[in-house]
C-alpha cells in the first residue's frame, strides 16, 4: 500500500537551517546536511529545503547544498526558493535534487511549469502554493507570503496540474508557524480539486494535527518543521501514532 509521507521542511538562509513564525522571526537551527542525515536516519520519507534568501549568491549555495546532500542522503528531497528559470531548475536537479519547487516564478511565468515538466518529467515539478483565507475561499500569495495575487487557490491548483505540476505543496499562511493544526478545509478542498499528490503544510503542532490532515484533509503527505526541529516530537513518534490510528506509514 502507498504510505502517507512525513516530510520535515528545512528553511535555509545563507546555508543554515532556520524556521520562522508566519514567515518572520528567524531562529538558527543548524547545518542543512547534518539535519538531512539526522532526519533520514529518523525515518523521514522525504525532505524539503526552502531557500528563503533567494539571492543570486544564494543560488550557488543551494546548488552546492543539493550536491552535498545527494552524497550523504538517499531519500528524495526537494529544493525550492528563488527558482525562476529552467536553468535554475536544471542545476539543482543535475546536482542531485529529486524535485524542485516553484512558487512566485510559477505565478509570474506559468510556462516555466510546463518547461521544467517537459524537460525533467512532472514528478520533478512541485508547485508551492501559499494560501491566505478570504471570505470566499483562499487567495494565492507570492514572494514568501507578502504579495497578494488575486488568484483563487482552487483554480490555481487545477491550473498548475494542467500545466505539468506533479505535486502541490500547499501552505496555509494563516496556520503557518502557530502549531495549532493544519487548515483542514483548505487542504481537503485542494485535494478534491486535483488528481496529483498534495503535501499539506503549515500549522503542525502534534501527531493528531498530522493525523487529521492526512485523513479529513485528504493530504498525501504532511510537511512540518518546528515540531521536529525543536524536538517536540520525533518522526518515529508521529509515525507510531499514525500507525496505531490505522494510517499506512513507512516504518
Amino acid at each position: 500500500m502507498l504510505a502517507k509521507r512525513i516530510i520535515p521542511c528545512l528553511d535555509v538562509k545563507d546555508g543554515r537551517v532556520v524556521k520562522g513564525i508566519s514567515f518572520v522571526n528567524l531562529r538558527d537551527a543548524g547545518d542543512p546536511v547534518e539535519c538531512a542525515k539526522a532526519y533520514s536516519n529518523a525515518g523521514a520519507d522525504e525532505l524539503v529545503f526552502l531557500d528563503i534568501t533567494a539571492t543570486i549568491e544564494a543560488r550557488k549555495t543551494m546548488i552546492d547544498l543539493a550536491s552535498r546532500v545527494a552524497k550523504e542522503v538517499f531519500i528524495p528531497y526537494t529544493v525550492g526558493g528563488g527558482i525562476s528559470s529552467l536553468d535554475d531548475a536544471r542545476a539543482l536537479l543535475e546536482a542531485g535534487a529529486e524535485k524542485i519547487s516553484i512558487n512566485t516564478a510559477a505565478v509570474r511565468n506559468e510556462r516555466l511549469i510546463t518547461d521544467i515538466s517537459k524537460a525533467f518529467g512532472n514528478q520533478a515539478v512541485v508547485v508551492a502554493i501559499d494560501a491566505l483565507r478570504r471570505e470566499n475561499g483562499w487567495e494565492v500569495f507570492i514572494s514568501a507570503g507578502t504579495e497578494p495575487t488575486g488568484l483563487d487557490v482552487i483554480k490555481w491548483a487545477k491550473k498548475v496540474e494542467k500545466l505539468g505540476a506533479g505535486e502541490i505543496l500547499l501552505t496555509s499562511i494563516d496556520a503557518d508557524g502557530h502549531q495549532t493544526g493544519y487548515d483542514i478545509e483548505l487542504t481537503a478542498a485542494v485535494c478534491d480539486a486535483v488528481s496529483i499528490p498534495v503535501i499539506a503544510s503549515g500549522g503542525a503542532g502534534s501527531p493528531e494535527d498530522i493525523y487529521r490532515v492526512l485523513t479529513e484533509g485528504k493530504a498525501d503527505a504532511a510537511l512540518a518543521a518546528s515540531i521536529f526541529h525543536y524536538g517536540k516530537y520525533t518522526i518515529g513518534q508521529v509515525k507510531e501514532y499514525l500507525h496505531k490510528k490505522g494510517v499506512c506509514v513507512r516504518r
Binding site: M1, L2, A3, K4, R5, S40, D45, S67, A70, K71, F74, I75, P76, L93, E94, A95, G96, E98, A119, F120, G121, N122, Q123, A124, G166, E167, S195, I196, P197, D220, A221, R250
Partner: protein
C-alpha cells in the same frame, strides 16, 4: 566498473553517489566503448518514454545495450529505464521500446492520483537475486505515471499495489529492473543496488 548510461534523462548523480557509497566503481557515460567494457550497466531515466527512446537512438546506444544483454552482461533498468526495456508504451500514442523484455507499458487508470508518488510496498513473488535479503512488504520510493505489464507475469520478482497489482521488480536471467528508485529508497534501496553490484562482480 558499472556504467550508468547517460542519455540526457535523469537522475544520474544520485545513482552514482549511491554506488560510491557502496564502494562500487562507476561512471556516468554515453560512450559505447565504456558501456561495452563495463561489468554491468544501469539504465536510469525519468520523464517521457518516447523522448527516452529518441535520446537513446540519437546517442546511438540502443544496439550496444541490446548486444550487451545478449552477451550476458547484467543490466539494471530503473524507473523509465525499466520501462524502456519493454516492447512498447502507450505514452504519446504508441512508442517502441528496446524489446529486451516482452511486454508493454500503460498509464495508471483514472481515479488514481498520478504520478504514483511516494513509498509503496514490494511483495515478493519468487526467489530473486536482486531482492535477496529484502524483507517481504518493504517500502521503496516510486515516482511514475506509467507502469509495465510483462507479457510473461512470471518475470516479476516483486509486485506492488496501486489501483491493482503491477510489476515493480523484474528479473529475467541477467536483466533486472525496478519501477522504484533504489537510489532514493534509503538503506533497503542501497541493499538492492549492492545486490546488483555483487551480480556484476561475479560476471
Amino acid at each position: 566498473m558499472i556504467a550508468i548510461v547517460d542519455y540526457g534523462l535523469g537522475n544520474l548523480k544520485s545513482i552514482l553517489y549511491a554506488l560510491e557509497r557502496l564502494g562500487q566503481e562507476a561512471i556516468i557515460t554515453s560512450s559505447r566503448e565504456e558501456i561495452s567494457s563495463a561489468n554491468g550497466i544501469i539504465l536510469p531515466g525519468v520523464g517521457a518514454f518516447r523522448r527516452g527512446m529518441e535520446n537513446l537512438n540519437k546517442a546511438n546506444l540502443t544496439s550496444v545495450l541490446k548486444e550487451s544483454v545478449k552477451a550476458g552482461k547484467p543490466i539494471l533498468g530503473i524507473c523509465l529505464g525499466m520501462q524502456l526495456l519493454f516492447t512498447r508504451s502507450s505514452e504519446h500514442g504508441k512508442s517502441s521500446g528496446l524489446n529486451i523484455i516482452p511486454g508493454r507499458v500503460e498509464k495508471f487508470g483514472a481515479g488514481l492520483k498520478v504520478p504514483h508518488m511516494g513509498w509503496n510496498q514490494i511483495h515478493k513473488t519468487r526467489p530473486s537475486s536482486l531482492l535477496a535479503g529484502i524483507p517481504e512488504g518493504a517500502f521503496f520510493y516510486f515516482a511514475h505515471s506509467y507502469y509495465p505489464i510483462p507479457a510473461d507475469a512470471g518475470v516479476s520478482v516483486g509486485v506492488s499495489e496501486y489501483g491493482g497489482q503491477f510489476a515493480s521488480a523484474v528479473e529475467v536471467g541477467r536483466v533486472f529492473a525496478t519501477q522504484f528508485h533504489p537510489e532514493r529508497s534509503g538503506n533497503l534501496g542501497l541493499h538492492v543496488l549492492e545486490n546488483f553490484c555483487k551480480i556484476c562482480r561475479k560476471s
